[in-house]
Amino acid sequence: MATLLSVKDMNVYYGVIHAVKGVSFDVEEGEIVTLIGANGAGKSTILKTISGMLRSKTGSIAFDGKDISNIEPYKLLGMGIAHVPEGRCIFQRLTVEENLEMGGYISKPAEVAAAIENVYNLFPRLKERRRQIAGTLSGGEQQMLAIGRAMMTKPRLIMMDEPSMGLAPILVQQIFQFIKELNASGTTILLVEQNAHMALRIANRGYVLETGRIVLEGKASELLTNESVKKAYLGG
């Protein structure tokens, strides 16, 4: 398997706060890789740095062999990387369909129409609500919309920041099931989660972050049974 995303020696600061401390990890094509860790561990910061919204002081970020350390955020999707930000960040005042159109902003109009149909097939609930203002959707529907929007350009890598946040357990199950299917259809996934148990169950590999540092890494199945991971993140 080829390495799709390679992060080397990432160091990110917010002023004097050293939020990410020398983090390195890889994502292979076709994998689901999860970054887990407690609040404030630096998970979102890592994704934002890959997106170009923040800069690493050192090291490099490469996607498909190309250096993207200094990429401008708006060029990310064109490279083949979609980022579903924390808190979903759908456009509340746009309709469901307009949100999807924004997801396909860089595509040709004909491709957009087909991609929207594709999302509607996967999430029929969104189709029923296509003209609804997105801010009035339920939390679960908003998450579907955020994921559907990220799929509009068929990116090679989708980075998701806590897709389970604020959702009822049954919906969390559905969203994770969906992420698994999305991966099975060929999309590589970088999944950031506090819900370590669910994330590790669908992931191939995982990295455990503590206060900006990777403290443990390995196969997801091994992390699930690892004693210190169990204690810290799996409630036992």
């Binding site: 990310l76 979609a82 980022h83 960040c89 746009l94 307009e98 924004m102 929007r149």
Partner: protein, 291 residues
């Protein structure tokens, strides 16, 4: 009949306020800046159309197009030079910069053309239709018709086109908009160009009715349009349109039935009442931040 006449006059000047208010509102929506230099774009547009017609002998339609292009470019340049470097600074720095830009434009024009007003000879034929014992001028009708057409076109642009949707996405959440592949800088430039282009049209319509051009003319016009934008709910496009028309009609009725001197007092009275009673205006959203 007099009443109808006053209303039509009010709609005429109100349509001009509305065109200008749209610029305030769109720019506020996208960069959260009250662009106090926006009124001065009307002044620049007025000088531009006058210069193009009287000095360069352009026909009126070419002069109008050139004025729109000129103002749009000035709008883009102002954003790039003055506001963009401050995009992540405190709101107050932006506000002060906007006032600085306004003074800069006024003084530059004064330096070039002196403070003495210029006279603009309208290119719209005089005369009009008579209703009862009053006559409605062609200027009034054309101003209203053109403004209405522009507002319809703008509404369609913002609601239906790709760039319009991108504008709305950027004004709601520019970080997420970037992740969609939207070039935020270009979208902001486009918004400034659009707002300034509307101000240019307002300028041409204004000088056709009022004929006097002076370096400070943009201040009062801009201020009234700003009141209109606040009244309608700043950031809201239909709000700016409605606010402009209401301010125009209120002004015209005050002048017609109470006193010309009181007209401005009434407008700012309206502003104060709106700010006290419903600070978000008619169509405003509750999420406004303090400026």
């Amino acid at each position: 009949m007099t009443f109808l006449y006053q209303i039509l006059n009010g709609i005429q000047i109100g349509a001009i306020y509305a065109l200008v208010a749209l610029g305030y509102s769109m720019v506020y929506g996208i960069v959260k800046l009250i662009n106090f230099a926006h009124g001065d774009i009307i002044m620049l547009g007025s000088y531009a159309v006058w210069y193009f017609m009287t000095r360069l002998n352009m026909p009126w339609w070419l002069a109008t197009i050139a004025t729109i292009i000129f103002c749009s470019i000035v709008g883009i340049i102002i954003e790039k030079l003055a506001y963009k470097p401050l995009r992540n600074s405190a709101r107050i720095s932006l506000l002060i910069t906007a006032i600085g830009v306004s003074l800069f434009l006024q003084n530059t024009v004064q330096l070039i053309f002196t403070a003495n007003p210029k006279m603009f000879v309208t290119f719209i034929p005089s005369g009009g239709f008579s209703i009862g014992n009053r006559s409605i001028s062609y200027t009034t009708l054309i101003t209203i018709a053109i403004s209405a057409a522009i507002m319809v076109a703008l509404t369609l642009l913002v609601s239906k086109t790709k760039i319009g949707k991108a504008m709305r996405a950027v004004s709601e959440d520019n970080r997420t908009a970037q992740l969609m592949g939207i070039n935020v800088d270009n979208t902001i430039s486009f918004t400034f160009a659009l707002g300034s282009g509307l101000a240019a049209v307002a300028a041409v319509l204004y000088v056709c009715s009022y004929s006097q051009i002076a370096p400070t003319m943009g201040s009062m016009l801009g201020l009234k349009a700003f009141v209109a934008a606040v009244l309608g709910g700043i950031g809201s496009i239909p709000g700016a349109m409605l606010g402009g028309l209401l301010i125009g009609v209120a002004e015209s009725l005050t002048k017609g039935y109470i006193s010309s001197q009181l007209a401005d007092a009434v407008l700012f009275g309206i502003l104060i009442i709106v700010l006290l009673v419903k600070p978000t205006g008619f169509f405003g959203r509750g999420d406004r931040e303090k400026v």
